[in-house]
């Protein structure tokens, strides 16, 4: 079995290397053939592993010891349990769909092979991340996905805006990673090990509950969890480290689907779920997670209302949904967070691919104000996008309904500090989510076309390689919720992979309501119950309102915007985060760097220290070489002097 585990990431790595090194030789066709074959086999093997794990065979062990430093072994190892096996399936499935989709999306792009090399490398890194059994490997994969993300956002590196966006993503992630690294350092300091199993076992018994010297009331667990969560905030784009994700839409759309919606950005969610034994020990940290998640969910959803770029709407919806997942983590409902992560991966990847399909058809026009009426031209894209929107809005029986309802219910049952605020925000978020997702659908596909005549004549449904992955993603967007709701509710979905303290177990409290029901009856009871509760009606209200604004009375939105006073510009400027970062951190840093470069580096280090020393040595050299006169008796004299000096020295000693 170990070889099987190893084969899954290594398949992707080897195809990545093959494409990267020999891209020219194998050609575009060869590139997509071997990469798709690689990831398809990886998907099959992952399914095999998942089935095996569901059968009760989990694995935790080291595969390879890279080095031993200071008594700490640095290892590559795998922890294969229900959590990681499920993530492996999600990652390889979405990755496979995106691989296929790319054939159509990037046809004739000069960077075709390079793109395949990157996404295969990404799949490798993401698999290593979810399969890790120690913090070192987690960190290495964490950085590697970040690197690939950087490379892919800047895939069209001639574009000024792409370069800006990838730099921004990289720098913001550095902030998060710094916290993450400090957290790992604290763990190593406290537990003396980087192995998950050792750390979790130690967390239960050791003195990590003790207060940290110099930090007042703060416990070690709180410090560690908060630092780790800073890392998660960077990777999963939580406020205030969220700014890079909307800009990351500069990358090709398949990447937005794979990396910036379905997988990489959920690494933070996954990591916190993986660290559940640590987070369970600190209510302070959980409260922070809950509040940050809920705030991200509502604030980003609101920004999504005012966007016109089709990809940006989906990007803000991703931010908002990540906020939902984070809120679920904060409520100790880790399985709910991962459940939502899974359903979201499918329907959000679907929405991105649908947006990409529209963009292909519109000849790389992304402004929704220039779309409209695409329903007739692109029926399959429309249908799949509708599936995605229903799932996103949370309408039964689409998958998003189950997972989002579960998140809201979990937060409702939470007794943590801030849970009331979080619940209110999430409820409000349901309305906003439904509104902006259907705003997108109506603006793009309904009404009459606002595209220029030239574009309109050439519009057509996208080719098969683009459409089929969307259909393949629409199916899980429909059914995953129904299939996995029950095991999620009764806790059998992840088994021992996550750990929840009994007093935090909100899902168990919620499940009490459905005691004794199972199978179809459970689903029906759940749907029935929700028909009588607020979230469902808020979602319906959102959809109806969107319909009214964008199909019926199309003048209303601009009137509302004008009437809103300062709110509309505030949303347009995304609350001024970008302005703040640019003016408080970025610009002064650049100025300081310029100063240091000119004065310290060029002036002092290069001028005085480096070149100065070099000049000094050169002068010494010129002086000392004159001792070499070429006269034999001088040489002999030097020898005698040397001898005399040594004898004197020894005698003197």
């Amino acid at each position: 079995m170990t070889n099987l585990y190893l084969a899954i990431p290594l398949l992707c790595l080897s195809t990545a290397l093959l494409t990267g090194l020999f891209g020219k030789r194998i050609g575009p066709r060869g590139a997509h053939c071997i990469n798709i074959a690689g990831v398809a086999i990886a998907l099959l093997l992952s399914l095999l592993v998942y089935a095996d794990v569901r059968g009760g065979h989990s694995f935790n062990g080291a595969i390879y010891t890279w080095a031993v430093s200071g008594g700490v072994p640095l290892r590559i190892g795998f922890m294969i349990d229900q959590l990681s096996a499920m993530m492996m399936v999600v990652v390889t499935f979405v990755s496979l769909m995106v691989h296929i989709y790319t054939i159509g999306y990037l046809a004739n792009d000069p960077g075709y092979q390079r793109f395949f090399c990157y996404i295969a490398m990404f799949t490798f890194a993401m698999l290593m991340l979810v399969m890790a059994n120690n913090f070192l490997q987690l960190f290495f994969a964490w950085e590697l996905v970040g690197l690939v993300s950087y490379l892919l956002i800047g895939f069209w590196y001639e574009r000024e805006s792409a370069i800006f966006a990838n730099l921004k993503a990289f720098l913001m992630n550095r902030v998060g990673d710094f916290g993450f690294l400090l957290g790992i350092a604290a763990i190593l300091y406290l537990f003396g090990s980087l192995d998950y199993a050792v750390v979790f076992a130690g967390a239960a018994i050791s003195d990590v509950q003790n207060a940290v010297t110099g930090f007042g009331e703060w416990q070690w667990t709180t410090i560690i969890c908060l630092l780790l969560f800073v890392g998660a905030m960077g990777k999963s784009a939580q406020i205030p480290l969220h700014g890079w994700l909307p800009d990351s839409m500069e990358g090709p759309t398949p990447i937005s689907a794979l990396i910036h919606a379905a997988t990489m950005v959920t690494a933070g969610i996954f990591m916190v779920a993986r660290m559940s034994p640590l987070f369970e020990l600190s209510e302070t940290a959980l409260s922070v997670v809950l509040i940050v998640g809920a705030s991200t969910a509502i604030l980003m959803a609101l920004v999504g209302l005012v966007q016109y770029d089709i990809k940006r709407v989906v990007a803000y919806s991703t931010l908002s949904q990540l906020g939902y997942m984070t809120a679920a983590l904060g409520a100790s409902a880790y399985q709910v967070a991962i459940f939502h992560l899974g359903t979201h991966a499918f329907f959000k990847a679907l929405l991105f691919l649908a947006a990409g399909s529209v963009i292909i058809s519109m000849h790389h026009e992304q402004d929704m104000r220039k779309m409209g009426g695409l329903r007739a031209i692109m029926p399959i894209t429309y249908l799949t996008a509708a599936v995605g929107s229903f799932a996103l809005a949370g309408i039964p029986p689409f998958s998003g309904f189950f997972s989002k309802d579960a998140v809201i219910e979990a937060v409702r049952h939470s007794r943590l500090w801030g849970a009331g605020y979080a619940y209110a925000m999430l409820l409000l978020g349901v309305f906003v989510t439904a509104f902006y997702s259907f705003r997108l659908l109506f603006m793009t596909f309904h009404g009459s076309s606002r595209a220029p005549e030239a574009t309109r004549r050439r519009m057509h449904e996208s080719p098969g390689v683009v459409v089929w992955p969307m259909v393949a993603l629409a199916v899980p967007s429909l059914v995953v919720g129904v299939l996995f709701f029950e095991p999620m509710l009764n806790g059998s979905l992840f088994g021992d992979a996550i750990h929840i303290a009994p007093r935090h177990d909100v899902v168990a409290q919620w499940a009490v309501a459905y005691q004794g029901q199972s199978g179809v009856w459970l689903i029906l009871a759940m749907v029935w119950h929700s028909l009588l509760s607020a979230p469902f009606w808020l979602a319906v209200a959102g959809i109806v309102f969107a319909w009214y604004c964008y199909c019926k009375n199309t003048a209303l939105p601009s009137k509302l915007a004008a009437a809103s006073g300062p709110i509309y510009p505030l949303l347009q400027n995304q609350y001024g985060f970008d302005w703040f970062y640019q003016n408080v951190f970025a610009n002064p840093s650049v100025r300081l760097a310029g100063l240091l470069s000119a004065r310290i580096d060029v002036g002092l280090v290069d001028g005085v220290l480096v070149n100065g020393v070099a000049r000094l040595v050169g002068r010494c050299s010129a002086v000392v070489r004159t001792m070499q006169t070429g006269l034999t008796y001088h040489y002999a004299f030097a020898m005698i002097i040397g001898l005399f000096g040594l004898v004197t020295w020894i005698a003197w000693l």
Binding site: G618, Q628, H634, A636, I650, L653
Partner: protein, 501 residues
């Protein structure tokens, strides 16, 4: 005394080589000039290879001794002898074409070389002051002659003369030190000297002045032979003045032999008196690394630059011995072997570049070499990186081992200084790379210019592919050995562990 106690089999390599040299001398009398030189050249190579094999065959056998313990065959001696034979043979191969162009491709040159090697082998095995001195003089006298062999050249004769005069001075110092040692201990046998001194050190608080004086004289003489500052003055002149083929020969095997007698005398004979020699060696090593590296910067002649680099390298390996512990000796052994490999390779490259009437020994000659001869340029790049001690090369590990030994014996400040001085050295090595790869070649290629002005036919000029191949193996070894580096270090450790005291 009977013949069984002579145990001459232990010295079979030396005996074989001496006999072979005599035979080749006789064979070199017959036939016409060109043919007998070629014959002697070939036979010399065969003799050297056989001598290496004779040592290699029973490498791991127990320590043996011959001639009433005047001669000892321990693993260190065998290892060094193999290196001496192989490197000398390689030096002959590299220099063949060069010698032919300068009319010094004669049988006697190779006979002298063989006798020099015999001397070096004796030095490696010396366990007696007289054996040691005998080997040293045999080697030195042959080397003087080899340097002066290009007798039409003013620089070569001047270099030989200087080397001879100063060498005689050093020999006299060595003899004086030995006589004091003999007077004090009553023996010429190194193991007896060692035990007498140990017993003496155990009883007396302070070693006597006479013995301290003996140590100083011996150290000075060794410093001269190693070419360590301030007794290094002969090195640049000799390296520069000697025909490059001889310089190549001089740069490899004699350094190993000098290391051998340093080990025999200092560690084998004077091991009871580390207080006296350790400080001295550190001082000499520091001076050497500093002076060698600093003056090398100002050189315009490649051979002279490499000569100063040798001074620095010899100082560096002396740090290993100065650290006064087994890891240090092992590191020094490793360093000197690696250095011999690198030094020979560097002069080999110059030999390959040289043409009739064109020595290729000016730094300016290297400009744009990467475009004229990419392969040799690459080899030179590797050599310079290794000499500078940059990580992917063996040269780095040699330096690392020495520094490690210094730190282990608590000489942290020396280690810091050594590293700083090595950084200065990196400058001129990297400058060579800059010249080779980044500078534009001079408008008229001196090599082709030299070719067009001489009347020698093309076939005569071409360097033999075998020589290039051997040189490539030699140079590539400094990077190809990397995966097995810990075996090499382990061998050095083992050799030092079994070093016969």
């Amino acid at each position: 005394m009977n013949f069984a106690s002579l145990n001459a089999a232990a010295a079979r390599a030396e005996i074989f080589l001496a006999v072979a040299a005599c035979a080749i001398l006789l064979l070199g009398v017959y036939g016409d000039q060109a043919r007998r030189a070629a014959r002697c050249y070939g036979l010399s190579l065969v003799a050297l290879v056989i001598a290496a094999l004779l040592n290699g065959l029973d490498f791991s056998a127990a320590n043996g001794s011959a001639f009433n313990h005047m001669f000892i065959a321990d693993p260190m001696a065998k290892l060094l002898k193999i290196a001496i034979c192989v490197l000398s043979a390689a030096a002959f191969v590299y220099g063949r074409q060069y010698n032919r162009h300068r009319g010094i491709f004669e049988s006697e040159y190779y006979v002298l070389g063989l006798f020099a090697v015999t001397g070096m082998l004796v030095m490696a095995s010396a366990n007696h002051l007289l054996t040691l001195y005998l080997g040293l003089e045999l080697m030195s006298l042959c080397l003087y002659a080899m340097i002066a062999y290009y007798r039409d050249d003013r620089l070569a004769t001047e270099a030989a003369m200087k080397y001879f005069v100063l060498g005689a001075l050093a020999s006299s110092m060595l003899l004086y030190g030995m006589s004091l040692l003999y007077g004090f201990t009553g023996s010429l046998q190194l193991s007896v000297i060692s035990s007498v001194l140990t017993a003496d050190a155990a009883t007396a608080a302070q070693p006597q002045a006479a013995i301290a004086l003996a140590v100083v004289f011996i150290v000075v003489a060794l410093a001269f032979k190693l070419g360590v500052a301030p007794f290094h003055m002969w090195v640049p002149d000799v390296y520069h003045g000697a025909p490059t083929s001889t310089t190549a020969f001089l740069s490899a095997a004699p350094k190993i032999a000098a290391f051998a007698i340093t080990m025999r005398l200092i560690v084998g004979g004077l091991n009871a008196l580390p207080d006296i020699w350790q400080q001295m060696l550190i001082l000499l090593a520091l001076l050497s690394v500093a002076i060698g590296n600093i003056i090398a910067i100002a050189q315009r002649n490649l051979k002279r630059m490499l000569a100063y680099s040798t001074v620095a390298h010899m100082g560096f390996f002396l740090f290993g011995i100065a650290s006064g512990n087994a890891p240090g000796y092992s590191a020094a052994l490793f360093y000197v072997l690696i250095y011999a490999l690198m030094g020979l390779g560097a002069f080999g490259v110059i030999l390959m570049l040289a043409r009739p009437e064109y020595e290729a020994d000016q730094l300016a000659d290297l400009k744009g070499l990467s475009k004229r001869n990419p392969w040799l340029a690459f080899l030179l790049l590797l050599l310079m990186l290794s000499m500078a001690g940059l990580p992917p090369t063996v040269g780095f590990f040699a330096k690392l081992a020495v520094i490690h030994a210094l730190v282990q014996s608590g000489l942290l400040w020396v280690a810091v200084l050594a590293v700083l001085l090595a950084v200065i050295g990196a400058f001129y090595y990297l400058r060579v790379i800059k010249l080779v790869y980044f500078d534009q070649p001079p408008s008229a290629d001196p090599a082709t210019a030299a070719q067009t002005t001489t009347t020698i036919t093309e076939g005569d000029i071409a360097v033999s592919p075998a020589a290039i191949l051997l040189l490539s193996c030699n140079v590539l070894a400094i990077i190809a050995l990397l995966p097995w580096i810990h075996y090499l270090i382990a061998i050095c450790n083992e050799v030092i562990r079994r070093f016969a005291v």
